[in-house]
Point group: C2
Chain length 179, copies 2
DNA sequence: TCGGAATGCTTGCGTTTTGCAAGCATTTGC
DNA sequence: GCAAATGCTTGCAAAACGCAAGCATTCCGA
């Protein structure tokens, strides 16, 4: 612990890294949303403002949670990548999603991913982390997961399913109520 | 989700509850430190200031993470209690402690609890949660844990052991080096 | 070749939150 | 009856936040 830290307690130090209103949401969008660029991250569900996003990205890079690189296909694009440090946050994300779903007024669409992550348990988390390592760190595909449907795609499909069901849902309810 | 929330995402809603620099540390001190009173919480490792502590306690009560009651033994004392909502944060605390210990510059004394929680795994967490329910919610002792050494006492003893070793430690190292 | 869209930010500026120090009315224990 | 302990509150300066707008560069399609 150096003088920059309030204490050497692991919980405190964790809070110092991502204990603010935005950092975890940025990481969430990168992990579960597959977002890699500034403008993508700007379109968050919660509407982060650009100066805050710029600031947080800088801090997360500084702390080793992300790396930043030029996009070879587009000279003015920067690509942000997760590191092992942030990838290892996946189980915490899963727990946090489960806890929030249990205690807070979540919406169906946005909690379906948490539900699936919870049901999948550590095995699913490991698969997901392995896929993230492949995507962000260039690690080779783990043999165990070769051919399996990617976790993010599975979660995304479930999300869209709920959205679709809801869109038709109110009509179906009306019909039911009228019959 | 009502208008007070940025979105219905479980991770976002969790962040809205304890995503700040202090709330989790207050809960940490209540859970692992057994603190129940304002003045106790004020003596945190990280030196929270009294206005912030007062504000956070009010918010945590408002959100259902804590309850506040008069201390029957002392007319001007308030007792803060955990609720099931905050007790169910124990696994997240454990993960957070493990993650912080892995990636951040923790001190030996303050990470020993995290280490033991990690090694103990879900079984230990369950015992701990059961004890907290007894202490804070007045639940009867779970039969499975009757007679077992309380988790908090075990963690505390380990902490003190590390402190003691460190105090005498530099001398011991000298002796070893000299022999 | 040229105009519109997209890129990752930055800049101002007003509002809110934080952090520090001090204080306060009451109650307790000796 | 007095010092210590109780849970806070108050003032005030500094930092962080949030919003809107803008900016230089690059890309892409016509």
């Amino acid at each position: 612990m150096d003088a920059n830290h309030r204490s050497g307690c692991p919980i405190n130090l964790s809070v110092e890294v991502f204990g603010d209103k935005w950092s975890l949401l940025i990481l969430r969008d990168m992990i579960f949303g597959g977002k890699r660029h500034f403008r993508e991250l700007l379109r968050s569900e919660e509407a982060i403002s650009s100066n805050i996003l710029a600031d947080r990205l800088r801090m997360l890079v500084e702390q080793g949670m992300l790396t930043k690189a030029d996009d070879p296909t587009h000279k003015q694009k920067a690509i942000y990548s997760l590191t092992e440090m942030s990838i290892s946050l996946v189980p915490i994300m899963a727990h946090l999603g489960a806890w929030g779903s249990r205690w807070l007024p979540v919406s169906d669409e946005l909690s379906i991913r948490a539900k699936l992550m919870d049901e999948g348990g550590p095995a699913l988390w490991e698969q997901f982390m392995s896929e993230l390592r492949e995507e962000h760190l260039g690690h080779p595909t783990a043999a165990a997961y070769a051919g399996a449907e990617p976790v993010r795609a599975k979660l995304q499909a479930a999300y869209e399913e709920v959205v679709k069901r809801k869109a038709g849902g109110s009509q179906a309810v009306d019909i039911d109520a009228a019959s």
